[in-house]
């Protein structure tokens, strides 16, 4: 199995508080890894450490063998290979949907504008937003914004996409359309690291579930293992609170 992403002993503190206390993880190509755990325990911080939006205090991040934590690494170039979808969408408000996608293509991948627009339209079709290319983020619903954000990440053809609670800011009736897109991506073999509270989605799509609490990996395994045969009391406690143990 190809290990595409490896986190080794990641530590991060904010002020005097240690948020990540030595987390190690590895993700294989084509795998869907879902991080679950109580709020504020460092899941988002961990995700942001992967593409170095947050720089770990200690530890190494390896992307297909390249050390992203090495100060000599060209991060801008490496970040093209790691896509990210945010809880708050973070679409560029001053650009219409099409240009949101072409910006990265033209400025980072140095694509010609015409080609970039073609690629962008293809991705928009994939996520079901072909007719919204000329709309602005402010004119879209939450679900549409997030699908546009996914298209934006996909267009860069990354090796792995990080999802930071992609549906947490959405109205319940809009969550489904985003999860559908994510399921399709998983079916197509995209490597995904997802922080989410959507347990049904996790059960259905995850290859591996990692339970993170208080800045440490408590337990990891397949969805079946974690949901039905958790070894740790803390894992069982958390799952019990979230959904009542699944039937």
């Amino acid at each position: 199995m190809d290990s595409i992403l490896e986190l080794q002993d990641i530590h991060k503190s904010y002020g005097g508080t240690e948020v990540l206390k030595g987390v190690s993880l590895s993700v294989n190509k084509g795998e869907v890894l879902v991080l679950i755990g109580p709020s504020g325990t460092g899941k988002s911080t961990l995700l942001r450490c992967i593409n170095l939006l947050t720089r770990p205090d200690r530890g190494t991040v390896l992307l297909s063998g390249t050390d992203l934590t090495d100060p000599k690494t060209d991060l801008n170039r490496m970040r093209q290979r790691v896509g990210m979808v945010f809880q708050e969408f973070n679409l560029f408000n001053h650009l219409n949907v099409l240009n949101n996608i072409t910006l990265g293509l033209t400025k980072v991948k140095k694509m010609a504008v015409a080609e970039a627009k073609q690629v962008a339209r293809l991705e928009l079709e994939k996520v079901g937003l072909a007719d919204k290319a000329d709309s602005f983020p402010g004119e879209l619903s939450g679900g549409q914004k997030q699908r546009a954000a996914i298209a934006r990440a996909l267009a860069m053809q990354p090796d792995v996409i990080l999802f930071d609670e992609p549906t947490s800011a959405l109205d319940p009736q809009l969550i489904g359309e985003v999860l559908e897109v994510m399921k399709e991506l998983a079916r197509e073999g995209m490597t995904m690291v997802v922080v989410s509270h959507e347990m049904d989605f996790t059960r259905e799509v995850a290859d591996r579930v990692v339970f993170l609490e208080a800045g440490q990996v408590i337990e990891e395994g397949s969805p079946a293992q974690i949901f039905y045969h958790a070894r740790s009391e803390r894992t069982k406690n958390f799952l019990g609170k979230i959904i009542g143990l699944p039937a």
Partner: protein, 226 residues
């Protein structure tokens, strides 16, 4: 009454010549201030080390001293160290450098109002910090700063009159000259005021129009809604 009106009619051409100088001075100074202000603001928000220190020093020193003092240093003080500026150049520089320091603060506030997530998303795509600032942050910040910046334009048109102290023949100076010739301060300065009001009202209309044209669809905060 008719005599007053006739007098006003007589002095208007002279005053308009002064207005032309005021406009050129304000326009040039605003542009200089825009350049200095934008660079300073970006350096203050995103810069590190020496560059950031320079930006902070520029900002604090210029805002910490009166415009008139800065003007006098440029026009009367520099010759002492061998640099002789003509009045108009001294005027442009003093007004521009001064405005730049204040514009820097407006831009800095606007840049900092752009949500942090915008920068995160830009960097996550692989854009460099500079690219993110130019293509993502500034386009949004400049829309946010427009109402405040319109204020700066209005201030500039009025503050340009400080150059009358170094005998630049702008609008107010011409008014003074006419007054020492005809001794009719009421009519003269009333007319000067009206000219200012007309110009500034035009500017306000222009900046309002610019705001509307640049508004981002879906995000414009319109009055009278909800």
């Amino acid at each position: 009454m008719a005599e007053e009106v006739a007098f006003i009619g007589k002095i208007i051409p002279e005053l308009l010549k002064g207005l032309a100088v005021t406009c050129r001075l304000s326009g040039g100074a605003l542009l200089l201030g825009l350049g200095l202000g934008l660079v300073t603001a970006v350096l203050r928000v995103y810069g590190t080390g020496l560059l950031k220190a320079v930006a902070v020093i520029y900002s604090e020193v210029i805002r910490g001293t009166p415009l008139l003092v800065q003007l006098f240093i440029l026009y009367y003080g520099l010759p002492d160290v061998g640099i002789n500026l003509d009045r108009l150049t001294a005027g442009y520089l003093a007004l521009g450098i001064n405005s730049g320091a204040y514009q820097a603060e407006y831009f800095r506030a606007a840049i900092q109002s752009v949500q942090a997530g915008q920068m995160s998303a830009a960097r996550a795509l692989g854009l460099s910090k500079l690219q993110a600032v130019i293509y993502v942050i500034l386009p949004q910040a400049l829309r946010l700063v427009l109402p405040t910046w319109a204020n700066e334009v209005i201030y500039m048109v009025k503050y340009a009159s400080v150059v009358y102290t170094i005998a630049v023949p702008e609008l107010l100076a011409r008014g003074q000259m006419l007054n020492s010739k005809y001794f009719k301060p009421a009519a003269i300065f009333f007319t000067v005021s009206v000219i200012y009001i007309i110009v500034i009202t035009l500017i306000t209309k222009l900046t309002d129009g610019l705001e509307k044209r640049l508004a981002i669809p879906g995000l414009a905060v319109e009055s009278g809604r909800d």
